[in-house]
């Protein structure tokens, strides 16, 4: 059992990790074929995993409806939405489930007018969330917060026409802030992230880090 849960996944990880690392340096057609094959396997795994995901989603909401948990009505909406969309997919604008999906019809209409619109609404809420978070952060209670406040005002004014209207210096200062201190910080983070990613990959490929398999590092 330990072989199946610990040793075999580690072996898979090692073999596929080292192979993928080598393939990165080999442009030959053979290597590219192996890479394409790996990508295909990944898609197959994803296809099966989506079934698991669907089962998880539906069983979670079914439990909420059955136990009348708080907000169970939302779970009912999940079921109704799922059922309706499934019917539209099968209907396929009159062509049936075995024809390629049409780009017109009730499924597309519902997707664009309900799902896309709802997502856009969620995204637009971001403006209000940013405002409230910015208000908390930009209160100049410490020297660092004061610097942040001044920088933020310069960047905000420099991005809109009124900044240049007030003074030509503001857009230039904004550009300097973005391309010097901001860029330096961004690159510093990226440098650390890249090295961290390399170290993590090595730990996983060589089996030093096994917590992703669950449990500790036995």
């Amino acid at each position: 059992m330990l072989f199946l849960t610990r040793t075999l996944p580690f072996l898979f990880c090692f073999v596929f990790g080292v192979t993928s690392w080598i393939i990165y340096y080999v442009p030959h057609e053979y290597a590219q074929t192996i890479e394409r094959e790996f990508a295909l396997w990944l898609r197959l795994v994803f296809a099966f995993a989506y079934v698991l995901g669907l089962v998880s989603l539906l069983s979670l909401h079914w439990a909420k409806i059955r136990q009348r948990q708080a907000g169970w009505a939302y779970s009912l909406i999940v079921y109704i939405s799922f059922g309706v969309m499934m019917l539209f997919v099968v209907y396929n604008d009159g062509n049936g489930p075995f024809a390629p999906q049409e780009t017109t019809g009730p499924y597309q209409w519902t997707f664009i007018n309900v799902h896309v619109a709802s997502s856009a609404t969620m995204f637009s809420l971001l403006a209000f969330f940013i405002s409230s978070a910015a208000y908390r952060t930009f209160r100049a209670r410490t020297p660092e917060a004061a610097i942040l406040l001044v920088s933020a005002i310069i960047v905000m004014l420099g991005r809109v026409p009124i900044g240049a209207y007030i003074s030509d210096v503001i857009p230039e200062a904004m550009q300097w802030l973005m391309s010097v201190p901001n860029m330096a910080a961004k690159r510093g983070i990226l440098l650390g992230v890249s090295l961290g990613a390399i170290a993590t990959s090595l730990r996983i490929i060589f089996g030093i880090e096994r917590s992703y398999l669950g449990g500790g590092d036995d």
């Binding site: 690392w21 590219q32 994803f46 983070i189 961290g196 090595l202 992703y212």
Partner: protein, 400 residues
Amino acid sequence: MSKITSCIAIAGIFLRVAAGAQEPVKIEVFDTPNDAGGSLTITWPLSTSAQTSEYRIYVATAADGPFQLAATTTAPALKSTEPTLFGHAEANDQFHVLHFTDHDTEGGGEPMPLRDGTAYFVRLGVTTDGDELFSDVHSAEPGGNWFNTAKWNNLIISVGLTLVILFYISVARRKDLFIRRIAGLEALDEALGRATEMGKSVLFVHGLKEMDKISTIAAVSILGRVAQRTARFDTDLRVANVDPVVMSVSQEVVKEAYLQQGRPDAYRPDSIFMAATEQFSYAAAVAGIMVRERPAAHIMMGYFYAESMLLAETGSTTGAIQIAGTDAYTQLPFFVTTCDYTLMGEELYAASAYLSREPKLLGSLKGQDLGKALIIGLVLVGTALASFEVDFLTHLFASL
């Protein structure tokens, strides 16, 4: 009459030469470097003619033909535009380059792709003022390459960093290494303890990326450490997923953690669930859980996009302790603003090692730090050299 014709022809040639029309004296034909095969490359000297010329590449499988058209161009690229293949030599500005992968067929059908291992004879035709002048015939065989020479710098850096990290792992086995304190990770026990005392759950969110992304793997590793603690403290752990593969892996990780802590009975697979598969549906679902179920701690680790602010700001209004970690630098300001603790960039990758206190893992962190110090040193030296227009170090580290 024939003397007159000859004189006119000679005069014509003289005028063409005087006008700058030149026969390409030197061409080079070779297998295209660093490719999968089926491609040849031809280079020839930069045209000095003021007039626009048309260049035609002809290909044959025998030295004496028949030649078929493979490519035509009036604006060939320079070798200097492809430093990954030809380096940064100044002379590259003086040569044109063209890659071709197929040639016309006699019957005028579909172009015939170049076959690996077949010798092709190539010549260049230059047309200026309607006269086409041909180069000598050169031959080459296309073929796939077994090493991308443009990535040798990457390979050396990777191997070097690997050796440094493996060296520190071996050092860590013999002696204790100092690792700086990471506040966000120190606070993890505090957050889980608070949830235990309040009798509330812990919500774990691991970003939007799939399982093959390193940030997600790091997040799942942290989930394993968190699950060990929630199993020990007997605290309810909720994991909201956006990707079914990540969900399946998370279920296994949490299950193993509970087993290892001797609490398989406390493990509930439906606590690790799919919330949604779309970004904003997921954000709405998780925000709903935060507001309705009021977990005592929100742990957000992984790669986030615009939903980071929606989640963290909603979470902050519920009064929960929030610990976030991401390598998405565009989202870091949002987390820093709204969370109690934030793991920035590489700290996300260090978290699992830090929490485990396993010497081997801590050794890899130390190796990573040394690698960073080396790169910072090289950046400083490179900046100084570049200021004096010495750019070999810049070229050495050019991303490809």
